[in-house]
Symmetry: C2
Subunit: 358 residues, 2 copies
């Protein structure tokens, strides 16, 4: 493990498509959504601690989650938390992390990745990441892991890449493509040369800050009004002042799409973004009637294809005659909804009048 390799885990999202398990006050990354015994954040930290020293892991999140993060990760020091005072999407988050690390180690090479994904092949992930670190350490390159698509999914962005290997399985990226329609997605699959964009990036501090200078200088300009604050005790107060003034934009739009020096490592790592209840349903083991049940006890009669989850581990669920439903009992909210219509859930949550249910 290289002392100038870092991993920054983005843990500030809301996971609103996982409502009501995921709430504003306790988003998906803090939940043991797969019933593994560890939250998604804890799984992610454990996974990357095979790649970089534990002290080189940063958690970038909204300030309101500080206590939850420290409770879930007692081995991390408070100084490893980068706390955003506002939600301005991923580009400002990446710039903040780069400036923070630059002050600490100007030779830093760092990965940014989400806290709430599942990766089943941890060894393959580790070897891909080490290759990415090595390549990004030796080249002025933005390196991303790309996932071999297994179906024409319209829920992911795609990476169109050059199939000529540049060594270490690194390939030049032609372009990033936004979430396609089904016809286009099928074309990507049929043609080959496309990967899913999993939002896992590796770059040196210099490379990413140069990219901001070229493509989104307004963001780094706002954050470097008084750059001497980075790495000092005044950094947090300074960030609290300036961060909310950055532009709300994703790193994909602001940096990846315009950049010419993007490379990808095709990675067969058993990845799932667990973006929705149906993706969790797909991921988990089913009983003989295709039900997934995460509850204390159950008595199911004529139930098929349902996802049933109770936040209380000693709750009994007795149900009859439902097919393809999501049934989520979580504290002060009970959701009973057709699986096929789960895309409604995000808007349903948003439309609630009572903030405390969100």
């Amino acid at each position: 493990m290289q002392e100038h390799h870092y991993v920054a885990i983005m843990a500030g999202g809301v996971g609103s498509r996982f409502w009501p398990a995921s709430r504003e006050s306790r988003p998906k990354q803090f939940l043991d959504i797969t019933e593994s015994g560890r939250s998604l954040l804890q799984q992610t930290v454990a996974r990357v601690s095979d790649i970089v020293p534990l002290g080189n892991i940063l958690i970038v999140s909204n300030a309101k989650y500080k206590n939850q993060i420290l409770e879930q990760l007692p081995l991390l020091d408070e100084s490893q938390l980068l706390l955003e005072p506002s939600r301005n999407n991923t580009a400002p988050c990446v710039a903040y992390t780069a400036l923070h690390l630059q002050a600490k180690n100007e030779n830093a090479v760092f990965a940014m990745l989400p806290a709430d994904h599942i990766i089943q092949k941890e060894n393959v992930f580790a070897s891909c990441m080490i290759r990415a670190f090595n390549y990004a350490g030796q080249h002025d390159a933005i390196v991303t892991l790309g996932i071999e698509p297994t179906r024409p999914d319209t829920g992911y962005g795609y990476i169109h890449y050059d199939q000529i290997d540049r060594g270490e399985s690194v390939h030049k990226v032609h372009s990033f493509r936004e979430k396609p329609d089904m016809v286009t997605a099928q074309k990507y699959i049929d043609q080959g040369g496309y990967l899913w964009n999993a939002g896992i990036f590796v770059w040196s501090v210099n490379t990413i800050l140069n990219a901001f200078s070229s493509s989104a200088p307004d963001i780094t300009d706002v954050l470097t009004a008084d750059a001497a604050k980075f790495g000092t005790l005044a950094e947090q107060d300074y960030i609290n002042d300036v961060y909310p003034n950055t532009r709300d934009i994703s790193v994909d739009f602001a940096i990846l799409e315009p950049a010419q020096n993007v490379f990808t490592i095709p990675a067969d790592i058993g990845w799932s973004d667990l973006g929705t209840w149906n993706s969790l349903y797909s991921y988990l083991d089913k009983d003989q009637h295709d039900n997934v049940v995460q509850a204390g006890a159950q008595q199911l009669i004529d139930m098929r294809g349902n996802l049933i989850r109770t936040s209380s581990s000693d709750k009994l669920v007795v149900a009859k005659g439902l097919q393809d439903y999501i049934i989520i009992d979580d504290g002060d909210v009970l959701l009973i909804y057709p699986r096929e219509e789960e895309q409604d859930i995000k808007a349903l949550r948003k439309g609630l009048k009572q903030e405390h249910y969100k």
Copy 2:
């Protein structure tokens, strides 16, 4: 109000068809099942306190509910509780009450009635009860209130009565009929002269103890092995010893059916025994899609004819696409069941391996 008139409220049942709201540890009579602000027991005590002095009300229940009863009825003295050490059905319960009252007041006339019924016309109920008390005080008569049937219900016992008025709207009873099949129930309705047996009885101590001597002497024999204990501080210990040895049988079978001196007062009192979730559904107001909702908040989409109840008053229920379901969220149990098949619930509860869910 007559000082020798008493009302004994039977509050020892389990209400298992109201599971999971009704539990062994907290049966239906202790619940505010109609969301009136008072439990069924509290409603019943308030109702009979218009008929007899508060101090003449007895609560007959299982010993395990002592604390719940005292909490719910702070105006009652502990001496007004008759605590059964075992569940032996209603005949031993009536005999115990009669012997207890005989020691207190040998001229006592008392009503026995269930704690868990709904009576909407309280004034009519009061005037019927006063007539029943008067008749039972002046005659060697078992008097029962009979409910005019509004449909051929197969869930109730029927009273076949003589339509000749004996004064005070009191009629001779020909016979009691057990729960009939649908054809028989329809015949009762078509013929007239049949009432529903609501389990509301009035009799003098002498009349009911004579009836036990004639028809079920074994029960009073067990309870009077040392009759001098009634009315003393030793009564409870004595009852704890002898009561479990009484025969497990209902007062209907043991006393009412063989008795020749049974009379009824037809009573249009807005009665419901609230025996099942469907009877509660029928009783309560519905929204424009025929849903009954007892929850903190709701977001219902394409939901029709459902009964939805959460034990927590601040719980949000979000549901889509269900018709004619019972949805009960109660602490550690969630029930989602077709209304039409509610008769399964009693057996389902009984079959549970984990006692704490019952």
